[in-house]
Symmetry: C2
């Protein structure tokens, strides 16, 4: 992609965008071996670069991981925003949001894992808290419509909707839906219908003060 090499031989990234290439390669590595086995050394190797090279662009290992995380948050927000269209009823839109949440986890597993499994230091990267908050706002706005502008009820609905979507997402990634023909769609549809059920039965929800 951004593999702009100034020299054909040697595979060196002189003048090339090594920084972006490192992020791409990191995502690919995470996709193959999981977040846990991510290593700066292996990423360097795959790019045909020395282990010392990345340190010109990232302070340390966690710094590269955080860069991946930032890309992940952006992609996640975009995936959810694409569902926040004004079609259908508010209830169906909230259900679609939950489905999109699960679908993102299934289709962009390395990004989703980077967000939730890695444990990025939020005090070191404050942009993270902000970005996560933005995700929540997408759910909140929709829940507010469902609840007819009752803020307390909307908060309660939003919280359980997110948790339900998150539960389906993590179980999906844990392999709990692997017996199905299409695990991702099954999990996403189930999360969506669960959201509709939550809305129907929402008078039972606990209202946080």
């Amino acid at each position: 992609m951004s593999d702009t090499r100034s020299e054909a031989k040697g595979g060196r990234y002189h003048h090339g965008d090594l920084k972006a290439a490192l992020v791409d390669a990191a995502i690919a590595l995470i996709a193959e071996r999981g977040v846990r086995d991510f290593s700066l050394a292996e990423v360097s190797r795959r790019l045909g670069v020395t282990v010392a090279a990345p340190y010109r662009h990232f302070a340390d290992r966690d710094d590269l991981l955080a860069a991946v995380g930032i890309r992940a948050v952006d992609a996640f927000a975009a995936a959810l925003a694409a569902q926040a269209r004004d079609t259908d009823s508010p209830a169906q839109r909230l259900a679609a949001l939950a489905g999109a949440y699960v679908r993102f986890a299934g289709e962009q597993r390395p990004l989703f894992d980077t967000l939730f499994v890695t444990g990025i230091d939020k005090s070191r990267y404050p942009e993270f808290r902000r970005a996560f908050h933005a995700l929540e706002e997408t759910f909140r706005a929709c829940a507010l419509e469902v609840c007819g502008q009752d803020a307390r009820a909307a908060d309660a609905l939003m919280a359980v909707t997110e948790a339900t979507a998150h539960g389906h997402a993590t179980l999906l990634l844990d392999g709990s839906f692997d017996d199905e023909e299409d695990p991702v769609s099954t999990a996403a549809d189930q999360a969506a219908s669960a959201t509709l059920a939550l809305i129907k039965g929402r008078t039972a929800l606990r209202r946080p003060s």
Copy 2:
């Protein structure tokens, strides 16, 4: 605890139950440093034993981790069974089950993480699939009562209840409830009330064929 040393000096586990001690120490280590940083070497060090000693009792690192996992499943099953009493209505019992699920995650974090974060090889340890299935049966039996013996409806309700409980559990461990005075209870109560809402609105649930 099972620290039965035959010699006062040297801290050696001759005749002692090193196997059980290793499991205990492993749990303690996971509690302190998380599943990710678990290592056979560190466990050995803490017990005052050489890194070679564990290999008399466990084939390798994963084998000890699996032993922790088996203890975890048992404890989890017991925690849930304690909620499956015949008091209250079926609906309230299912809600209590969901709450207990979340509470176990919060109170026995190292065990819960060992089950879901470690990634124990289920083909190598088949007792795991069985034990997990048993957990599901607890939910299924309760859901069946709620649904008046309608098996298809019960399956759908069971699946979303588990996913909802799981979502609250993982978000709790991710720190999403850390703003609350009592994060564990907040998450558990929220999962319980969500379950009641799911039951009330369950006509919206998708019925798997």
